[in-house]
Symmetry: C2
Subunit: 398 residues, 2 copies
């Protein structure tokens, strides 16, 4: 299979359809403007990343809307920025930079308008775009109860077993339990960090975040080496909300950050869900507040999956694969071709057939599952009925 | 004050605006037709209680809609019925028969259409009509958890403290906790039984039901001596739903009777509420099912009171008393006149002033509170600002 850290054989850090100058401009902007800065977003939209980067690093007048003081601050940051160094630093942890225009860019982030991330640093093999298509956020209190941790783990596992990608923030408490639940079920999970993806925050989660990067994806809009701040946590939440089809809040006190994620999801037209708890529990109070509004009460993964739907408008025709097979990347097509026609196969067998590692194959299998091509049966995988017909007539083409 | 068991001086068992023959006819029908029998309701509506009773006890042809077999069954029951004996039996426990046409009849029961009770047997001094105007049902599982019992007791007390009448079914578990919560707060509570009001069901609640009859109201549509049956429990629930402005389900498994009450409330356009619990709790599963539908999640009495409203359409003008003072019964007017002009008074002081027992006075005070005349302050009572103006100009009239 292609280089480690690469989706479908593209260059992990500079590949894709985006011109190199534009990509480097975005990497510079990611270092210079804070997440969610709508003024930066407007400049990007109106002038393009190349021009904005040149103006920030050159001698020109301030861009429209920025005070002299603010402009000076941005220019000072731009002076210290070095996109090539950022790329090199990212490469050390196997991270790539994904931005609008890339095939891997998750289009639903465009719903954020001018608050859309300039780009995302991504660690892990799977395609962020493919995974995001079938993802649910499971978020909640850091200081959760045992009940909250139990529910997050059970929902994470249950969603993973149903082929859903579990997205969370990598924090202590509910986030970690949701990630671990998905990992434990051999499923797919994405951690969206409020710091550089080369950092592990919180420190106690170094191992967990490493496992997520190995088995899933670690994502963030902050440049390598950047630290989290309270404001960055809040703004990170809009990415979790926008990336996913819905947000489930497991436990959250009043004024919790998880409620901000849920409210962002609501504003973006995503599904918002809450797990009930005892009315006497302070860390369920915020969830109950949500449930007294527009959020839907959910008690298990089946209810969540039912609500966020079977790809909904993304999969108008459930009888056939979601994505035309020609649009699959070469690695995914190779895995598809390695599946036996009519029986369940173990990952190892498929990996041998595809000439790839088991780790690579698992990532691709989840992608293919989200696209309607394969089904999971216990530890094995099988072509769906729809896929059998089209694949058997096409076997060996890729 | 008037005879024990009497609302505002009317004859406790045969008084009111309903002709004696009609009342006796209804008492006979209450013995003969099962609760909620819509055919009986239709006969009553089309022919009146006198005619229906005569046809059941005379030699005429079956009434329309009844098969010969069913008619024979009803006639056999009618033959054994004896309204005068029922009245005497009721009188022994201080119960009266309240039916449509009586001043004490709660008009909202008419929403049940032909399933409206033929009449209600009522034990306790307060006016059922007045209490029902400002009542909320708190119902739930018999086999509740400690959490459920705790929540029911806290909600019962909190509603009582806010001047709401707590209605429930007198059963073990949630019902009993709700009644006890209201009683413990010195508040108002109504038990709607699925058996004769001279019986205590369950047997273990003999003392509780006695206390409710002493401090509140025990109500039922079954004739004296009648036993509960599964069907009667279910049909009793429609009375709880119709009598109240809303139903709160505290804990309920799937297919629980409390869910039937909530669904009946929904059909009748009443508020339906549920108290959340852990998603892992079987006795919260039914509540969560409701909350995934139209029911509103509530976690405390304030939220319930806010939802069912401050008398809503029953109290269009919050600046003045709800009911013109001339429509108050003589006892209520006497209690009103016994309240000091501007300060809080203890029940004993008011009772001395009104020349009545403390028990009688408490019942009237809750009525007056529900009508906007008085406020409770700890253990004392005080005229509302609105009431002060009108009462001071009128003092001593009654």
């Amino acid at each position: 299979m292609s280089r480690p850290g690469s989706p479908d054989g593209e260059d992990p850090t500079t590949g894709g359809g985006v011109p190199r100058a534009e990509r480097l401009g975005r990497i510079l902007l990611a270092r210079v403007v804070e997440p969610g800065d709508e003024l930066g977003g407007r400049w990007l939209r109106e002038l393009g990343p190349g021009t904005v980067a040149r103006r920030l690093t050159g001698d020109g007048a301030p861009l429209p809307g920025a005070s002299d003081k603010r402009w000076a601050g941005l220019r000072a940051r731009a002076e210290r920025a070095d996109p090539e160094r950022d790329l090199a630093q990212a490469r050390q942890v196997g991270a790539r930079f994904v931005c609008p225009g890339d095939g891997e860019w998750p289009g639903q982030l465009d719903d954020l308008g001018d608050a859309r991330p300039v780009g995302l640093w991504v660690r892990g093999r799977p395609s962020l775009r493919m995974w995001a298509l079938r993802s649910v956020a499971v978020v909640g209190a850091r200081a959760c109860t045992e009940y909250g941790a139990h529910m997050a783990a059970v929902l994470g596992a249950g969603l993973a077993e149903r082929g859903w990608v579990v997205v969370s923030g990598g924090a202590y408490g509910v986030d970690a339990a949701a990630h671990r639940g998905a990992l434990g079920a051999g499923g797919a999970t994405v951690a969206v960090l409020a710091c550089g993806v080369d950092r592990s925050y919180p420190r106690g989660h170094t191992e967990l975040i490493g496992r997520i990067a190995g088995q899933g994806l670690v994502v963030g809009e902050l440049s390598p080496g950047e630290h989290p701040t309270p404001g960055r946590f809040i703004l990170r939440n809009r990415v979790i909300a926008a990336l996913t089809r819905g947000t489930v809040v497991v436990e959250a006190a009043h004024r919790s950050g998880a409620l901000a994620t849920a409210r962002a999801a609501q504003r973006l037209g995503r599904f918002t869900m809450g797990v009930p708890g005892p009315a006497t529990s302070g860390v369920s109070a915020g969830v109950h507040e949500l449930l007294r509004g527009e959020a839907v009460l959910v008690t298990d993964a089946a209810e969540i999956a039912e609500l966020v739907g079977d790809m909904g408008e993304l999969a108008p025709d459930r009888r056939g694969p979601v994505l035309p097979r020609d649009l699959l990347g070469p690695d995914a097509r190779r895995v598809l071709a390695a599946l036996p026609a009519r029986r369940i196969a173990a990952v190892e067998e498929i990996a041998r057939g595809a000439g790839a590692t088991a780790d690579d194959v698992v990532g691709k299998l989840y992608e293919l599952r989200s696209l309607g091509y394969v089904e999971r049966h216990g530890d094995g995988w099988k072509l769906t009925r729809q896929a059998m017909i089209s694949v058997s007539s096409d076997r060996g083409r890729c």
